[in-house]
Symmetry: D2
Subunit: 337 residues, 4 copies
């Protein structure tokens, strides 16, 4: 069985496992105040070219999103997001459970446009409506597309115009940063967003996300919020050990680049087979449109997700590559197709 | 430095690390629906003698407590707990953040008495007050004491009398079950509580708690609540792998028993030195009262927590042993003392 | 100045004021447990042909909606509503502030279709998404349209099919029940919904809404929720006195019918002037499309609300009649137009 | 029957009813933006000697408390209050339902001491605990006692020392300001608190509380919060009309002074009868300790509340006077006693 269902079906990259094993019998302080977390923070701040950034390690994406937004916003504040955003669809109302409305904007390619933000702000004009205060975007988006630097700059400008925070969900940020023809860096994100997180779970670690808070007014007492939402690990060092490993020699980028490359070989092969795509993604999630018979044939050999029907006779499927996907698997998939 | 500050200062027991390593490159489904979690659930249900129990794996204690209570209660329901309860003191208002009041009852030894529950229910007599609905206890308690079976039976009776749920926080449950002269078993807990959790983080795994829901009316849709509160791990298998290891051959009990034994040697040695204790604990947390000069002397060699001042010249300190504490360390401590 | 801006710009109908004055110096118990509330409840149950209904009096619509939904739902439950619904647009995220997501369905005429409910249920298929549990509709809708009995029956059927609650916001229910050619009665609503409220504020009282809970599983402890959300009036009798007056001799229906009649005269006059309407409403809110010059001319004499631009040269305006609107005012408006 | 059960058993003072009647058929804008509210705000700011104060009118005490505290605090912030505080006991967990813990301090006379605040702050020392941020007091307290100016000054000082907000619940503030030998004025409160409310419901109006926000950092967007919590009246003018009446000629103070005077005559009469009091209150709530036989005899003629048993043979009862209590009623009570 070739596994292309998601990018979290394995454990961790062997280098990560080795680091966990090597440090296992060292005593440290708990709750993320250990030397490993300190070192990982230092490495990340360097990458961000932002010494003053606050870096917090959390266990998963939904947890990071809900903790950050609950901490950043007052009760009447709302969030603007694409209708395909993870927080709109796949977090079981986690944001609403902390009290905030999410304003969903239609987006066929998963990206939010500056004009949509402006429109959403202007329609909410008085105290009988929520007050938009934070813009949520994902990079890569939920359908694998990427915001490049100039697009983020345009979002930043509209946020500045209306006093909005810009928050970036980086569950698959590695794949965005290493996508072909993309100019974006972590330092750009530190300059352009109020806060963003660097996803580890889907890029080679057992679990873990690193949240960077850049805007000083969002930093105060953030650790209280992590604890209150159940996100403060007793053995917080596990997050520090893993992120230190990801960023000490560029492993984070290598793993993401590999996932992207595997996806692009796959994509080209599928195009070569005469099939089209639902969305044009340059990263590790691709969405071919396959006749139902072809899709059913693939099922025998490949684990993947059905995305949505495409008329009566075809289906959009999602194929996801990861740091663990091999070129052999891709080739076998293409032969089978 | 001898580390007696807490029971989560190391990584995991080597057997756990080995299991994580052995399974690392196997692809599985995410979110706790993998074969490892299935197997761990099967082992736990057998221990509980409760085939119909629902077992869910979560990442930490605060997360488990807040997810369970938010799922179990309606908005006007309140929780009755000892004033030293973890949810009262050390979870940054996580329960209140989900909307529920915690009614704190004074408790010098960390245990809640049936009469206190009855009193709390009776004083809340109409809709101008919250309605007590759930009793929260910890076993071991936050000061190391233990509820034995007959005490839990008495709490169960008062809960039945007033239609209350009985919930047990088992962050250190292993130490309760293996404490000297204690008759309690996991099967007893399955019979006597509506829900309880078996703590892994403080007993040998990297992280993880296993929540058992026994009362059928509390089971519905629980996975939605885990997801909504940010507690559903993408690589949920990590929890299954660790709990399978803990329960396949009794490792869970062995590790806890060891921690208790180390603490009792330590305790006897301290008594032998002529010191008294703040609370009489038979488990892995002990609370000697030391003259300030003695405490300061110990600090040079031992990492421990100051619990509270005891008059002007003495201090109550907390010493915590774990699966990783060695008899050599204990002996060295006692020599130094 | 002719006031057609809304239906809450006056105090109360003189008969209501008289009743408040007549009872002013009588001592009663507080919090809605007085004889006036009892009598009002008795009258309402008779109207509903539902002796077993629970009737609660609250102070306003947003308060009633948020209290009811917070009481009826578990944290992972979501609400399905038209995108123009009051709870979606004009309650400042009050529902989300109690933790629940509102799933908004597009609706040009303010009405929700059974198929939209079915679609919304089917797309929410697992625990990574919220679970739709309650359908919210308004009657009349926010744009003056009306659900008749057969339409509600169809909504009831789809709710039954999927185990959903049907909740009706009756802020302007009087105008729906007395609209021309509408067969609906309060007894129908008691039969077809799980809960609904009868709006007083916009139909002749100083303030007040009467919530009827029909589904037995939603009744338990509801008064706790009223208190918890700040909706329990110390002098709850004020609500009982007013609703008794509305329902002892049919005043409620007379006032709504009058508002509808004034609106229809107005509508016919505007049609006679050659203008069209944005939505075809048979009730007390109408939405003519006027050239901007005409609208500006009207502003000198009439207080009304601009609804939305209609191209560059025209505007949709909202005209609202009430129990206090006179035929003289309507005639003067039409002359001015 | 003599009614001494509470101070909200009648409608409103006749002058209030007259004002509501006189203004009934005037059209105004809704939601508190009408000329009556404007005028009432002007009168109140003058009383407060605080032109820059923000004044908001709400419908009841619980609603005011929960709206203010939810607006003022971040999720990890806690409130310090006396254990007898209305928010601790009689608001059905309304504050916790907005997510905040209330730290209850023991207080036999209903008053909070500066030292208790200091202790509560110091014990909450890190992010594993909530962070105290607001001090809640009531004046008069729930047992009729009064904070005078110097006591409030002392509370203010400790709040300043630790960066806490001082919030005063003035449900019965009129009785505090007019109590014998009390120096406190509304202008003092404007100077000493961050926010406080002036209760109308228990002092002569049908319903209504006026919240004054003094601290500029608490003012932003407050109307959003009123709306979100269901507290924004469509006919907000009703609150303006009533408060204008209360403050245009000092009616507010006259009514409270009358209530206090009636209570003190009653108190002296009871003392004359040889009875003692549970708490020494100089205001409109008094708490005599009566032999059970005497209490039972009184029940035939007087409506009052049993406060708590006092040993086996006596009971503490609560007697409450109001603007509507007459000297004849008091005399009749004393004769009966």
């Amino acid at each position: 069985m070739i596994y292309l269902k998601n990018d979290y079906s394995l454990g961790a990259h062997p280098q990560i496992m080795q680091a966990l094993s090597d440090t296992n019998m060292i005593h440290t302080t708990g709750y993320g105040e250990d030397p490993f977390c300190e070192e990982a923070r230092r490495l990340l701040k360097k990458q961000l070219a932002a010494d003053e950034a606050d870096i917090h390690f959390l266990m998963g994406g939904t947890q990071t999103n809900l903790t950050a937004m609950a901490a950043f916003l007052r009760p009447h504040h709302a969030i603007i997001a694409a209708d395909s955003a993870h927080i709109c669809v796949h977090e079981t109302g986690a944001i609403e459970a902390t009290g905030h409305k999410v304003i969903a904007c239609p987006s066929p390619d998963g990206k939010l446009l500056p004009q949509q933000i402006e429109d959403a702000v202007l329609v909410h004009k008085d105290e009988h409506m929520v007050k938009p205060k934070l813009v949520y975007i994902s990079n890569t988006t939920e359908v694998g597309t990427v915001y490049d630097r100039d697009e983020l700059q345009a979002l930043r400008s509209v946020c500045d115009k209306y006093g909005l925070y810009l928050y970036l969900d980086g569950a698959r940020l590695g794949c965005a940063l290493t996508a072909p023809d993309i100019q974006l860096t972590l330092a750009d994100l530190a300059r352009l967003t109020d806060a963003f997180y660097i996803g580890g779970t889907k890029n080679g670690v057992l679990f873990g996300e690193a949240l960077a808070i850049l805007n000083p007014e969002l930093k105060e007492d953030f650790r209280y919020h992590i604890k209150q939402r159940g996100g403060m690990m007793a053995k917080g060092r596990l997050l520090g050990i893993q992120f230190r490993e990801l960023f000490k020699d560029g492993l984070y980028f290598d793993l993401a680049r590999h996932a992207n490359e595997m996806a692009q070989i796959l994509k080209n092969g599928i195009i070569g087979g005469g099939y089209e795509f639902f969305v044009d993604s340059p990263t590790n999630q691709i969405f071919p449109i396959l006749p139902n018979m072809v899709a059913d044939h693939l099922r025998e050999l490949v684990s993947f997700e059905d995305w949505q029907p495409y008329g009566d006779r075809a289906t959009v499927i999602r194929l996801v590559t990861s740091w663990g996907t091999t070129e052999d698997e891709i080739m076998e998939f293409l032969r089978h197709l």
